[in-house]
């Protein structure tokens, strides 16, 4: 991209990133301090385009919140994935939720919860029971010292894990990214990173600058992870669309029901496609296993 305004990113670093090479932890930490988030975003966009071109995937998800089980409805036909959200209070609670979601899923993939939240409920046996009840994948695993072992444990009993994610905002976002990178080094098959937290801090929510910086840095620092995700339902069309211009290539959490009654921030299929196209990108629907549906 031709940018004439002076970039604060040294050309040697930019060249390293564009060549798909790994940046040192110090360089990542330095990039995280730059206030010129658009220079960072432009570099991340170069990487994203080198890997995916203009293609932008999205997945339609039907969410089941474990705290509102009495109000669950069968999933709409358009849903490609069932997603259990929230934090179950016990293994029984989790099992009950998985069975109920499975019953309403029409045979589609059921993913849900943070792997670490499931593991504390009942260890390996608990994970095995959840798989037997119908849970295909943990929705994500948070990076940390025990994460690689947890993924191995889950996979051993048949529980898939494909996404590295964050439940809450990390105190040190650079450290979080470096931990995520180490996890993706240690464990194969982690195809996506969702760097923005699932549960916002209500008192001090992350800002637009924070989110753009985090997404762009994730793309730049995790050179070996194919997909950088943003959650459409949680972050809303405006921020999610901007994220697509600074390194993200996948929209998670698109509501499956084609219904506008919940307001414009819970947008239906057409709105997702419109927003992707309006960012000069090409929308492609995918399924729960990251398989493109146009292929």
């Amino acid at each position: 991209m031709s940018v004439d305004a002076e970039s604060p990113i040294p050309e040697a670093v930019a060249a390293q990133v564009r060549a798909g090479q790994r940046l040192s932890a110090d360089v990542v930490a330095h990039l995280a301090t730059l206030s010129d988030i658009l220079a960072l975003g432009a570099l991340a966009d170069d990487c994203r385009r080198a890997r995916h071109g203009a293609r932008t995937t999205f997945v339609r998800v039907h969410a089941f919140d474990v705290d509102t089980m009495d109000r669950w409805q069968p999933a709409p036909a358009a849903a490609r994935e069932m997603r259990l959200t929230g934090q179950p209070s016990s293994l029984d609670h989790a099992l009950q939720a998985v069975r109920a979601a499975r019953a309403l899923s029409g045979g589609r993939v059921v993913r849900g919860f943070a792997l670490e939240d499931l593991a504390v409920l009942g260890g390996r046996d608990g994970l095995r029971a959840l798989v037997a009840a119908g849970l295909h994948d943990a929705a994500y695993v948070s990076p940390g010292p025990a994460a690689a072992a947890l993924v191995a444990e889950g996979r051993h009993v048949g529980l898939g894990v494909r996404v590295i994610g964050a439940t809450r905002v990390a105190a040190d976002r650079t450290a979080w990214l470096l931990d995520a990178r180490a996890l993706a080094d240690a464990v194969s098959g982690l195809v996506a990173v969702a760097p923005l937290p699932r549960v916002p801090d209500r008192l001090t929510p992350t800002t637009g600058f924070d989110d753009v910086r985090t997404v762009a840095l994730a793309r730049i620092a995790l050179e070996h992870v194919p997909t950088i995700q943003v959650d459409w339902g949680r972050y809303g069309p405006k921020l999610a669309q901007v994220a697509l211009t600074v390194g993200a290539d996948d929209l998670d959490g698109v509501e499956a029901a084609d219904d506008t009654s919940k307001g414009p921030r819970r947008a239906p299929l057409e709105d997702v496609r419109r927003n992707i196209a309006a960012a000069a990108l090409v929308p492609v629907e995918r399924d729960a296993r990251f398989e493109r549906l146009d292929a």
Partner: protein, 409 residues
Amino acid sequence: MTLTLDVLGTRILAGGRLSGPEALWLYREAPTLWLGRMADAVRRRKHPEGVVTYIIDRNVNYTNVCTARCNFCAFYRTVGHREGYVLGFDEIHRKIDETIALGGNQLLLQGGHNPDLPIDWYEDLFRGVKAKFPDFKLHALSPPEILHISRTAKLPVPEVVGRLVGAGLDSVPGGGAEILVDRVRKLLNCYGKASSDEWLDVMREVHRAGLRTTATMMYGTVETDDERLEHMLRLRALQDETGGFTAFITWSYQPEHTERGGEEATGVDYLRTLAIARLVLDNFDNLQASWVTQGGKVGQLSLAFGANDMGSVMIEENVVRAAGAAYCMDEFEVVRNIENAGFAASRRTMHYEQLGTPVFRQRDVPRMVELATAREDGDDSVPAELVNYQARSAAGKRQRGQAPPSPVA
């Protein structure tokens, strides 16, 4: 000459002016982040001190009765409608008291085209405010409202402006511009309230009278991208002539609850539009971020796409809220967003004079105050003083107990 990003980027960075075709090419072809970085470079050249400003004011809509019936508007009520209202002078004074208590220094006063409010109602309102609150500023009456008063009073615009300034008008908001292209205005049913030339002529008169004004653009309805550019170029030409605009504010059409309906333009569209405005409007010092319509996050990102002002810490806003925009930030949150983006925050006046540190750092102010909006639901009281002003509509006369019009009025 073939247009390229390098050629135009070099010109922009050297402070050169973009032609209409060049700006249109960039708007259509330039990558979003390239536009943003250019706009940011221009913002930095104009505001090297790294300060982002905001104003604490209160947006009061004095009446929702309107004969204009713009089809993008969710706010107005027709003459005689049971939900139509006019605020009383006492109520407006009370709102000013509350605004001052929160550190505010100005009322942004706009309303519908109410045929039953004659020019002396506005003059009495302004004089009353100035008598009670001499230092408080009145940023009031967009060009179509001034034109409406001129039409109902059968007085030329310069005379209306002179009388309003004499009564206490301090500055004029740039509302009602929508898109300054008559094809678009006809489709939006807002050509009748003011054609493009009429809007610009009113602004010219206001600038001649020595007042400063803002300029706005509401996009995302029926206009083409070259019509958005035409709008900006017309503003740039008037600014070359008068230098009277303090700031430019753009926002996307908010479709909810409007007759027109449809979808809202996207966040990237907003940031591109803001950035191209910074590049085209090279004679405007200030660009505001519209976080009310874009949300806090994209609102803050505006500061990387050419904006140097976070606009108003909204205490009250009925027109946009009626159309579904529901974002809210108090002074604490506005300042947090400014500082998080790497800028120093400063309160300001409408004339962009900096007023210093945030009020909440000087004294305790409540967070996220819930003040009454223009009119509480179910409140259908009529201000007592309205009987002193001659209504023009049959419904207005009935309500005020006034005689039918004389046949030779």
